[in-house]
């Protein structure tokens, strides 16, 4: 790979240092040289991904809190319900799991780091850590406690290991004291962590 070829380098791959960064840069250059994929297309895909963030998931949650029929559809088929809100979740199927006074849900991917990027954006580093991935499957209550979340003995913990073609979003419980709030106001209470299941939605006083 000489420096005199005429396609642009992607700025994210200017100075690859680790083995995998070098491998990625080499594959990108080969794909471009062979006209299989342009660097412009790669940049475009990265920009689409960067534009996504937890506000999309929060919008879905706030709608479910205010519209029982939407919530029913969301729990039955997450992908289709998101499409109603104009959110394209791609080819992967979205499963939405509901927190109740009797069950608390938490998401992990023990095999790699599968994550609902289409609704939450890029995952936090801890979600990809070996500690989170191994311990959440085995001792979820201890992990949640370290996140500051105490789950009572009257509440079942349901771990969801995202091992294949589904992606998961937790529907947190709507906080008390929010009667009459608009969807936009409610969405402000919905954090990324509450949709992974390592936290509850914020209380009104926290906003």
């Amino acid at each position: 790979m000489s420096d005199d070829h005429d396609h642009p380098h992607h700025p994210e791959h200017h100075l690859p240092s680790t083995y995998h960064e070098k491998l990625t840069a080499a594959v990108i250059e080969l794909l471009a040289e062979k006209n299989l994929l342009s660097t412009a297309k790669i940049t475009e895909a990265i920009e689409v991904m960067d534009a996504r963030g937890p506000s999309l998931g929060a919008k879905v949650v706030a709608r479910a809190w205010t519209d029982p029929e939407f919530k029913r559809r969301l729990l039955a088929d997450g992908s289709r319900a998101c499409a109603e809100l104009g959110i394209d979740v791609g080819t992967l199927k979205l499963v939405v799991v509901e927190n109740t006074p009797h069950a608390h849900n938490v998401i992990v991917c023990t095999l790699c780091s599968c994550y609902p990027k289409m609704l939450l954006g890029i995952p936090p580093a801890w979600y990809k850590s070996k500690a989170y991935r191994s311990r959440t499957a085995r001792e979820p209550r201890s992990v949640l406690h370290e996140f500051g979340l105490q789950v009572g003995d009257d509440v079942a913990v349901r771990v969801h290991d995202s091992t294949a073609d589904m992606r998961y979003l937790v529907l947190p419980m709507r906080p008390g004291g929010t009667e009459g709030w608009s969807e936009a106001e409610l969405a402000e209470l919905v954090t990324r962590d509450s949709m992974i299941g390592v936290a509850q939605a914020n209380e009104p006083a926290a906003v």
Binding site: K93, T110, A156, V159, D161, T163, A164, D165
Partner: protein
């Protein structure tokens, strides 16, 4: 594509240890649970990973008791749900 199992059916994950790209976690092999839902048909990742999208399999979500998986649980009744392709499942009895 019709599945062999229905929600509520008791199943055992096969104790296979094949080489290659497999999406059945080690820790769940040989364990028993109940079908939580049918997710639909998806390409078998064990062939898809090698460029062969030619082997659709029914995918299930299976719910396991934490005691069954680890021999202990932080609280009885806690569960873990895992996606498992049909060829990895057999009836429990």
């Amino acid at each position: 594509m019709n599945g062999r199992f229905a929600p509520g059916d008791r199943v055992r994950v096969r104790g296979w240890f094949p080489p290659g790209h497999v999406r059945t976690p080690y820790y769940i092999r040989g364990k028993c649970g109940a079908i939580e839902r049918i997710c639909g048909a998806f390409d078998n990742p064990e062939r898809l990973a090698y460029g062969r999208p030619d082997d659709p399999k029914v995918l299930y979500r299976v719910r396991f008791a934490q005691e069954e998986v680890w021999g202990r649980a932080e609280r009885p009744g806690d569960t873990i749900d895992i996606e498992i392709y049909e060829h990895w499942l057999e009836p429990e009895t």
